[in-house]
């Protein structure tokens, strides 16, 4: 059993396809791993054990019958619980959707299943993906497998923790401002936020529609490329899905990038950045140099980080991001009103306004309420130009900064988050400090760029430290190849927290 869990998704796929091991065996092994560690981690909202074994048996039957088993044959994956599945529940970790049974399945999830993947269950998140620690879950906080007193990051904390703790071979997360990349960094795994429009949003419960993307969370770079090859592609059900066909990202992954030019945005290396993370990213730059890459220092002025009055950090990008995301959220979450599905207040409401207002007061958590109210405010008469429209203009400036940067380099190297994983409760008191955890990741969402988060080693504390590669739109293939170069050279890959073995 042990060794099955240590196989990468790619290795497991090959083992299942070649009949060396069975999908059922692998699925049972992962279900056992969940049994063992879940009480300490709480990564899952729902484990679909029976269905998973059923799926696995179908895959095994295909293999025995000599049918083409698919690129993810028998690979047990976990799905962030903000993607609709026609089986089980889809809750977004919100009380308002606690009993919601979607009548359909998200395109990305359907593509995984069509490729032979086995869906183990739905993972915990910050309610409606609003948060950076998974503490905003309406049900329970998820804990970091490296130290259960720490947060796994968020909002895809459940998926990142599950992958890190070997509770699944790989997982899907969603990323609106860093929700795949930051938990991946906190948990020592690989996570990709694809180019906006590259992966269908059909069936992804919307938070910030112009920013949301689904992406893979895996143990190594090759697995990330493997899953991405399966979920990427055009979907006529999503009007913002791009028509050009996606590449087989795995095919070229071991081809190093000749004369790779790596940009380092000087604004990112301020005193706001934890020294160990700064050192780790610097070391990664050195490693790339020794692989023949050239490092260019450049500037992303509108992603600058300032220390404002009272030492508080501030950033145009963070302000811009939260204005846009909250405005879209206030509209996207208007539908949760207790009429067509979801929670309805048990208190008697004799008029529709009371029914709405009580239902939403009961169903939403504090952070979701804050964001809905702020979004409503910034869109409301008299404030639209000062906030929302202003943010859209700054959004263009931020995107133009990247355009200039990529004229001088192939990819950008940056930290993922200003600090490693922090303690539960450490930042819940002040929403703003929590928002600043996204400082290095949100710009890519605003500009629609792909961002890859991968481990850059361990800090002295023994906690994983992440680094981020950001590329131009549709440069996923390049990102994978560049990431693989570092992974090979550094040997930093498939980091295993102690919890896995005890």
């Amino acid at each position: 059993m042990e060794d099955i869990l240590n196989l990468s998704a790619l290795q497991l796929r090959d083992a299942v396809a070649s009949g060396q091991t069975s999908a059922a065996e692998a699925t049972v092994a992962y279900l056992a791993a969940i049994e063992k560690t879940e009480p300490r981690i709480s990564a899952f909202n729902e484990v679909l054990a029976e269905r998973a074994i059923g799926q696995a048996k179908k895959v095994d039957a295909d293999v025995q019958a000599g049918r083409q088993p698919g690129p993810l044959a028998g690979v047990p994956v976990a799905i962030k619980d903000n993607m609709c599945t026609s089986y089980g529940l889809t809750t977004c970790s919100s009380k308002i959707l606690a009993n919601f049974q979607a009548p359909y399945t998200a395109t990305a999830v359907a593509r995984l299943e069509a490729a032979g993947a086995v869906i183990l269950g739905k993972t915990n998140l910050d309610e409606f993906a609003m948060g950076s620690s998974t503490e905003n879950s309406g049900f329970k906080p998820t804990r970091n497998p490296w130290d259960t007193d720490l947060v796994p990051g968020g909002s895809s904390g459940g998926s990142a923790a599950a992958v890190s703790a070997r509770q699944c071979a790989a997982a899907l997360g969603s990323d609106t401002g860093g929700s795949i990349r930051q938990p991946a960094a906190f948990c020592g795994v690989v996570g990709l936020k694809p180019t906006y429009g590259r992966v269908s949003r059909y069936g992804l419960v919307a938070y910030g529609s112009s920013l949301d993307q689904i992406g893979p969370i895996t143990r190594d770079v090759a697995d990330c490329a493997l899953l991405m090859s399966v979920i990427a592609g055009h979907d006529p059900k999503d009007s913002t899905s791009v028509p050009n066909e996606a590449a087989d990202y795995l095919a070229s992954i071991d081809t190093p990038v000749e004369k790779l030019r790596i940009g380092m945005p000087k604004e990112f290396y301020s005193d706001a950045l934890d020294s160990e993370i700064s050192a780790a990213v610097g070391a990664a730059a050195e490693a790339y140099k020794s692989l023949g890459a050239e490092i260019v220092e450049l500037s992303l002025p509108h992603s600058r980080i300032d220390r404002g009055s009272g030492g508080r950090l501030s950033s145009y990008a963070v302000a811009c991001y939260y204005i846009v995301a909250m405005a879209e959220a206030s509209s996207n979450l208007a539908r949760y009103d207790g009429v067509h599905y979801g929670h309805r207040t048990p208190a008697k409401a004799d008029n529709i306004v009371d029914l709405y207002s009580r239902t939403r007061a009961e169903g939403f958590g504090e952070e979701v309420k804050r964001r809905i109210m702020l979004g409503t405010y910034t869109l409301s008469a008299g404030y639209y130009d000062a906030y929302y429209n202003k943010a859209l203009k700054v959004r263009r400036l931020i995107a133009e900064d990247f355009g200039k940067a990529f004229a001088r380099c192939h990819v950008l190297l940056s930290p993922v988050s200003p600090t490693p994983a922090f303690r539960l409760g450490e930042k819940t008191a002040d929403p703003l400090t929590m928002y600043l955890a996204d400082i290095y990741t949100i710009s890519a969402n605003l500009a629609g760029l792909p961002g890859l988060s991968l481990p850059a080693g361990l800090a002295a504390t023994g906690l994983p430290v992440g680094m981020q590669l950001i590329g131009p739109v549709f440069s996923e293939e390049l990102l994978f190849r560049a990431a693989r170069m570092y992974e090979k050279a550094s040997g930093v890959t498939r980091l295993t927290p102690k919890i896995v073995n005890n």
Partner: protein, 492 residues
């Protein structure tokens, strides 16, 4: 009711919501169909379920452009979608996908025929696409039921400038719009099915002693019949004037601004709606789930090419080329198909006037019974043309033609063979007619005498004898031939 010397000028703008005749809804492929069992034409998109995404219906865009062009609007080269936020149970997402700052079409006008025969040019401010809401069913006493079959049906909102100055003008404009969208096939515009709803904005400009007073603008929502529209506008004109008379300084636009009122059909009056005052803050912002629509010149012109001749132009042509009366021309241009029937028959060589008489005579009567347009009663242009020609050639007389036309509705046999089998063909055989003539001459010596003696009685007597012969022939004898023979035999 106006006080002496007050000049009261109603100033009215009309918003018309038209449901487009697409097969599917605007953002999902559920059927756009009236009258089905509640909540059967619904899906994750039009119920607004989590994770659902809209995909724009191409046909809806094309119909909207077609109507815009027919209303002489400029069609935007670049147009986008916005979310309009308000909470109501018939609006599942609690926002309506609409168009805010970049409507599909704008700045047009419609020429509206008024009852007095004159034409009024009504300016169109804008025409934009949006999704319809569902229906709230109020039959239960204690609660409301929500049916989402209508939710997401494509809706064209046509907003006029405040160019209408009387109830008659408002009605004429509304009917002209109904005729136009039907003509274009863009909507069935069936009032019973809620395909058309009206939202008038009404106030008065009152001139007294050289000074102009403006009453508050009142908007009345969701009027779904011409009758309701008429009663509402008239009621508002009277009400606003009365309220202004009560306090000419207080009841003013500057002091009270815009008001929302609802129409109470049973009472036939409008009532102030305070709740609608709250939160008129729609928080419009660009719809992130849809991408812009760019209308190329070529796409726009290809749509323009499908418009063809519009009702007023065709009516004018009928009066000029076919020498038809205003009434006849107007009656034949209520819908496109009926006029097409006429034009095809005329092209086939039939006389326009004769075709018109057939269509507006028996044809209109049958259409009336069947409750459909004349074009739909089941007579083909070929049949119409042949029958008109037979009339002209005297092969059938008017009475016979009328009976043949009746038959043409049921069968697609040619009028010739119908007349044949029904024995309705005019008799041209001189010997048979001569026999009837001789019989009548011998049976009516007095009339014969009157004819022979000439003088003023002659014509009357000749007419009398002709009638008798026709009677005897059961209407089959050809009148011209009868007269010729009578004259010959009576030596006149």
């Amino acid at each position: 009711m106006t006080e002496t010397n007050d000049i009261v000028k109603p100033v009215i703008g009309l918003e018309i919501h038209v449901e487009l005749a697409t097969a599917t809804k605007m953002f999902c492929r559920c059927r756009n169909r009236f009258g089905d069992r509640p909540n059967t034409n619904v899906c994750i998109v039009c119920i607004g379920m989590p994770g659902a995404l809209p995909v724009m219906n191409k046909k809806a865009v094309e119909y909207a452009i077609k109507v815009g062009l027919a209303m002489n609007c400029g069609v935007a080269g670049f147009t986008k979608w916005d979310r309009k936020s308000y909470y109501y149970p018939d609006l599942p997402k609690n926002y309506q996908i609409s168009q805010y700052d970049l409507p599909l079409s704008a700045a047009g006008h419609l020429e509206v025929p008024l009852p007095d025969g004159s034409i009024k040019k009504v300016r169109i401010l804008r025409a934009h696409l949006e999704e319809d809401a569902g229906k709230n069913i109020h039959t239960a006493a204690a609660h409301t039921g929500v049916d989402l079959n209508r939710a997401g049906v494509p809706l064209l909102e046509i907003v006029s400038e405040p160019d209408l100055n009387s109830t008659d003008e408002v009605l004429a404009y509304a009917r002209a719009t109904q005729r136009l969208v039907r003509w274009l096939g863009a909507s069935e515009a069936n009032m019973q099915m809620g395909h058309m709803r009206f939202e008038p904005n009404i106030n008065l400009h009152i001139i007294r002693k050289g000074r102009c007073y403006k009453t508050p603008i009142c908007e009345v929502k969701n009027l779904n019949s011409f009758r309701a529209l008429e009663r509402t506008v008239q009621y508002e004109i009277d009400r606003q004037y009365a309220e202004w008379l009560a306090e000419p300084e207080g009841y003013s636009l500057d002091k009270l601004g815009k008001q929302n009122r609802g129409y109470d059909d049973s009472a036939g009056k409008t009532v102030f709606q305070r709740e609608k005052e709250e939160a008129h803050d729609y928080r419009y912002f660009p719809e992130p789930d849809l991408v812009p629509v760019v209308v190329s010149d070529q796409w726009r012109e290809s749509i323009r090419a499908t418009i063809g001749e519009l009702p007023l132009a065709r009516r004018a042509r009928y009066m000029k080329d076919y020498k038809l009366s205003f009434e006849d021309a107007d009656a034949l241009t209520q819908d496109a198909a009926t006029g097409d029937l006429l034009d095809t028959a005329v092209k086939a060589g039939a006389d326009a006037k004769r075709c018109t008489n057939l269509l507006l005579g028996r044809g209109a009567a049958i259409a009336n019974e069947q409750g459909c347009t004349i074009a739909r009663i089941g007579v083909t242009a070929e049949q119409l043309a042949e029958l008109a020609k037979m009339l002209q050639a005297g092969q059938v007389n008017a009475t016979a033609a009328d009976r043949v036309f009746q038959k043409m509705v049921q069968t697609n046999q040619s009028p010739g063979s119908i007349a044949e089998s029904e024995g309705l063909l005019a008799v041209t055989d001189t010997r048979r007619i001569e026999a009837w003539v001789d019989q009548v001459i011998s049976a009516n010596p007095q009339a014969v005498e009157d004819v022979r003696s000439g003088g003023k009685k002659q014509d009357k007597a000749l007419g009398f004898l002709t009638g008798r012969v026709m009677q005897l022939s059961g209407g089959a004898a050809q009148p011209k031939e009868v007269q010729r023979l009578l004259r010959k035999k009576l030596g006149t």
